[in-house]
Symmetry: D2
Subunit: 337 residues, 4 copies
């Protein structure tokens, strides 16, 4: 921790900070410049982070040197983690494509999409039974019935599936069906939910909050990890910016940045970031080229009738074409789908 003293800090203020550091067993390295005194604190990270340094008299600001997360950082684990999702690896040399409808609406809708994505080469099926919706008047998902349909589709098409959980009380239910539990963007900072999925025996896909910094996202992963669940996949899905021609702005740089800071696999969601069908292909290809370990794509056989997010779902035929392009980009960078 670097503690920058204000220009009007007294010697007593500096001493007080040094004393408190000493109380907690940390060393204080004091540098006096012409206009500011700076104190470098070296010692037990957790103990130093715990004190509210900016509340101390004469302190202008405190700049942490280390990140608050530990287990998910590269400092802790240098090599890339590969997560196993019902037999399908995420991370490593493969680019894994998860695809299917945003929400499970009916057996027909789900099975027609599942057949199409399987045929085109996707290896994990997506489809949600619980949907968090901005308006209370929108379709909220089929619940357990949806999970049962997904389990049936898994048998039929030999595709493990991913499904979202939105309520800590439903975590065990979703976990008992799904091969991969998704924590959605609105729940990235829902700490009770993170703790619950951290106790499940299934891997977790953690979407970045659309307004979360990369550090906050990794802190959220730490919540899951520290409960004992080490099978965490990160998913970048666009952040909120001032640009309004896209639903969100896909933060493509987050792929290399998160992979630099953490050993966890990182995938991208080209469907929800752009929010428009015609952006799905360019964003998918960009994601793979930037080094993403996978993609999660909305595919719907009849977007016009979709109950959720129809505007961004692509048709099975377009998905099939896209899979070929994804394969081309993957091999250009020495990876396979």
């Amino acid at each position: 921790m670097i503690i920058v003293m204000a220009s009007d800090a007294t010697d007593g203020d500096v001493e007080h900070v040094v004393d408190r550091l000493s109380d907690i067993g940390a060393e204080a390295h004091v540098s006096k410049g012409q206009l500011r005194t700076v104190i470098g604190a070296v010692g037990d990270r957790a103990a130093i982070l715990r004190l509210p340094w900016e509340a101390f008299s004469g302190v202008e600001r405190a700049v942490p040197v280390l990140k608050p997360y530990k287990f998910v950082s590269r400092d802790h684990h240098a090599t890339d983690t590969v997560v196993d999702v019902g037999g399908v690896p995420v991370g490593g040399n493969t680019v894994t494509v998860m695809a299917g409808p945003c929400a499970v609406e009916s057996r027909d809708q789900l099975f027609s999409a599942a057949a199409a994505v399987k045929e085109a080469g996707a290896t994990i099926l997506r489809g949600d039974a619980f949907k968090p919706r901005t308006s209370p008047y929108s379709f909220q998902g089929l619940g357990e019935e949806g999970l049962e349909l997904l389990a049936e589709a898994r048998e039929e098409f030999e595709l493990p599936f991913i499904a979202e959980v939105v309520d800590p009380r439903d975590t065990e239910l979703v976990s008992s069906y799904a091969d991969l539990i998704r924590v959605g963007t609105r729940n990235m900072a829902n700490f009770p939910l993170l703790a619950e999925v951290g106790r499940q025996p299934k891997p977790v896909l953690l979407k970045r909050g659309f307004t979360a910094t990369i550090d906050e996202w990794l802190n959220a992963a730490e919540y899951i990890y520290k409960e004992g669940n080490h099978a965490v996949i990160l998913c970048e899905r666009g952040i909120r910016t001032f640009e309004s021609q896209t639903r969100n702005t896909l933060d493509i740089s987050a792929v290399p940045v998160a992979k630099g800071l953490s050993h966890l696999p990182v995938i991208i969601d080209p469907s929800h970031s752009g929010g428009r069908r015609r952006l799905v292909a360019p964003l998918s290809l960009a994601g793979v080229a930037a080094g993403a370990d996978g993609l999660i794509i909305d595919v719907h056989s009849s977007p016009e009738t979709a109950l959720v997010d129809g505007a961004q779902a692509i048709l099975p035929g377009d998905f099939s074409t896209l899979m070929k392009q994804i394969g081309g980009i993957a091999s250009a960078i020495g990876r396979a789908i």
Copy 2:
């Protein structure tokens, strides 16, 4: 709903939209310009909103004319709502000040702050027993023990109190103790939690998500309202922007904007928006001048030892001075504290 067709939309595309509108009993008003055709849809709002118009062939974008929320809007209820919090009114001609420590840490800490804020003129006590923290290694609150201390302080100082709930499973517990339930900024879009607090017999203070638009905030209020709980207070507490000298940017305009769109009372949180002690006074005064119905302020007798957010807590003496200034601004605009 206004449906703007793309420049290359065919007559068939236009017809198809008109037919679907007719299917759901809505009228279509078609205006053909030189470069674009625009279709105005008039009829049952919910039915029109339900269809994913942007997924239709030839549609460039769909612009809703009406807001998706209904009960919390001024269209539904023209006069200002006044919410009763354990006998204290929020809304109307009064500027209500809620104050106390961010988190309950101990009986002494709570009681010393409570005595001070009571003495200075606050009418509602704040103090949390459950805290949502970005890092899993930070203090998470005292839980039920904290609620018991708050209840004791209520008796001792005759101050109703507000406390946060962060988990739907704790909602009844918090509701059984508190006079006003708070939904924090990170949980504004935690829909299961909103539904739970919507079923409680206590009023709810709904903080704006630090990355939520005003419309999303009012949608969240609608979630609570439609479950039957009409005693909702809105709280602006700063939004995330690119500026980093403040923790968040207090959106002072949100006060008149939200009060224009909704009949619910709106207060501001000057402590968490700025994140710095010396911003609390100017932001408090600005909030009252802009028309806020109240303030919620962190006060701590010893910020240096605070387990949560010490950097923004003000001392009892400064709070007392601030209360006098707040009173001055309130009377300048014809209100009272």
Copy 3:
């Protein structure tokens, strides 16, 4: 400057940084923690800032301790600066109100607004002859003819006036007429223009770029100051955020933050930040309550016919009412208009 080394930095990397600091006459204070080494650099600020530390091998990041601006900072000049605008003070105990039409459109339009704002108590007239417009097809101002009308109005109503300059080639022209030169939000980082206004004998109002940090804004003020013009007034006018119900988000915290960092006066523009007429009054009052040294307000006798920004102009009658409210808030905090 604090230089944080990467976890995989070698001893050679650390030594290399220390050597380069020594080369430029600076001291290096090295703190070795368990996971990171941190180097505090103490010495000539400008020399240290000049080197691209983040380009050095093994450096993770470089955190400046001091701000890059000097003359405009409180470190340089502790007491508040008061700027004289044609005899009217800006800064100090007065709250100065500048008002008038956004753009000068005609003699009648200008004079009718000038008469009204004078009558209501404004002490500086606003009105632009050059307008920067997003679309090349919008009205761009009357040019010198507009300046002449402003000069006439100054005589008639005994009001010094403020006018915008958008092109370095017009700086002398504007300066020769106006009492206060305005640099608009889009030109805050137009460095040749800043240098030009820095050489004029007239005070300058520097609007914050709607996407500029407070530090960038003060750097821009430094450009003007260091050319010799010390009569600089800062103007907060809203920043770009994700919220779309207001044109920009007035950053009310910027008032106390900028006044803490700099000795220059700070005013706010409630008209352009909100972009809506009904927000002008609450934002004006909030600005004064937060400690702003003045306001600049669009007033137009016939907003419907305004060639620029009619939606945010208030009518003379409303301005007159607002001036009374401003006076009330000002006296509540011990200031006068």
Copy 4:
């Protein structure tokens, strides 16, 4: 234009809008819903856009259907424009790579970088003689001497070059030397400068303002285009967001969005968006995969000694490796470098 009336608009308000539309020769299509009346205005776009509809009594908001730019839009010109830069095409099937130092510092520095980028396959040389810098104390460029060195390098290495102009008064000078004039991100809304470059006989690369919407960027291109210069290349270079691990957030979606709205070529700048050397490769590959028509990359033989932006410059050896990867991605999508 869609004009949405407020819920409390009177019949007179509606009539007044309809009358004004009729005055300017436009048709009004009135749709009365249960809660709002909506007026669709059809007619001459420019005439309709000119009136400040939101200033009219009873108008809640006015939603434009058409974009304010015309010549740069796909509506005006359906096929892709290819811009000739000193014999090198930008747009069409080629992915054009521009590379070199951020600023020209000396003959040696420029020539060593130029030799390297030529060797690796770049076809346009970058290097600036005028630099806009946030701080007045930073290096501002060599001026005309820098342009002369660039012209020499052009002869020596047979590479046309691109250089920035920051002052309208230098436009002819820069234009007389450079093959491609660059308007930097801070000057995207410097309208006098846009008008000047619009009158030059050289093509223009227009960087997106780091806080500009895509529409504002296209409006800026329109400023250039309408002065007669049709050789405009758009360059996405990152936008300002809340994420601070990157200098700016590369808006990768802007590539397909801008190419959908406009016929102009779009390239990306992977160096200035990320601001970090190790992000240059992944962002370059992502840009090409997303459909960008080219890249502009900072290459410096000794980043540690760079006077500008050393942290993001890559070494010649890394550039050479990157060019091979770019070639691989380009051929995967059927393009060539």
